[in-house]
């Protein structure tokens, strides 16, 4: 089976083209965005990159608090920061 050359996801409604195998956390960094704001209003982004620190949580296809460093991008995926 051949892999598609590129995938398209949306981040806060804005389309982004990424290579297959890209994690959602990496895609958000490519887009130059932060993942979320902490409860005290600080901006947060990926830290450990291995699913331990929970800093990179975002909403993926409507499910909040998804650890985006552990999820690979799929075509049509809807990602929301700060959710």
């Amino acid at each position: 089976m051949s892999m598609p050359d590129r995938l398209t996801i949306t981040i806060d409604g804005v389309p982004l083209s990424v290579a297959p195998g890209t994690t959602v956390a990496a895609a958000v960094m490519i887009a130059g965005k932060f993942c979320r704001n902490s409860v005290t209003g600080e901006r947060r982004g990926p830290l450990c990159g291995m699913g331990i620190c929970f800093e990179c949580r975002m909403s993926i296809n409507g499910l909040p608090h998804s650890r985006t460093c552990q999820v690979l991008c799929e075509n049509g995926m809807e990602v929301r920061t700060d959710a």
């Binding site: 949580r57 499910l63 909040p64 608090h65």
Partner: protein, 376 residues
Amino acid sequence: MSTSTYDVLIVGAGIVGAACADACAREGMRVAVVDGDIVGGGTTAAGMGHIVVMDDSEAQFALTRYSQRLWQELRPELPDDVEYEQCGTIWVSADEEQMSEVRRKQAYYTSRGVPVQILDPSDLERLEPNLRKGMAGGLLVPEDGVLYPPCAARFLLERAQSRGVRTFIGRPVVRMGNGMVRLIDGEQFSAGVLVNAAGSLAPALTPGTDVKKRKGHLVITDRYPGFLRHQLVELGYLKSAHSLTSDSVAFNVQPRRTGQILIGSSRQYGADHKEVDTEIMVRMLRRAEEYMPGLAKLSAIRTWTGFRAATPDKVPLIGPWPEDKTLFLATGHEGLGITTSLGTARLLVDQIVGREPEIAAEPYLPSRVGKEHVHA
């Protein structure tokens, strides 16, 4: 070492001890509170903080209803971090058989002046869209609420301190009785009245107190605002709470102000170790998932256990201990100590000063246990 003297000395700085200290101080008594650990660090910290009217027995109803009214009166004074929310309880009925229990409960509450509303399946779906479809209905009790117990205990104790109550925290007690309390470090206190409010540890200080540890597990999720709006309890809950021998689980979930969801509940006798029991926690979560399938996708961030102070008849022990005329008990609140702490404190103070209480004190007297020592 010298001996300090008080009118009332309370052992236990959980929510019951804190409420008793506050109520005694209001009467102008000289009060001290002693606890071997931290304020509200035992069963108080482990519970959900459901402020709920229960109808397991007339005695349980009277004390929970009286206490809920006291919480509502206190509400304007509660600091924000107590997180008091009058979210209401919905008793969820899974099938037609349980709907007859809904109707019985409705008649019971209504005849005693507690507002309730029967919900049909569409009401239930509108109020709690994440419940599994196809439930038979439920009973909404809108005046029930939730709070954050450790902060409530701290508030009550601080208010007591502002009225002159002395506190000795982190000072384990080795002995109490005959008007004396002795700490592990050798310090002694004397008092006209001693109150054992040590929760599930009460029998260690007052042998013969018929209180057993009943272990429970809770799980808390990350923040999912709007996922859950009321405290939801399955109607089979009483069956679970009643069982005196076997381990049991029941669907019981609570929305916190943060959007987090507390997931319970489990009951175990004879499990005296604090560690999480994976088998029963899995059973508890499966039960919750049966009622709310969407819970399975949420992220749980912490789980813990605690010990309820359970009596054989599910009614707390409030009043004089027959074998020591200086000693009063305020323990045995099982899973209702957060709710009933305020009513307990009033009953205790009324008995100490010899005043007629607002609700009958007899059902809660420790002397009842010796009289009819029956384990159903």
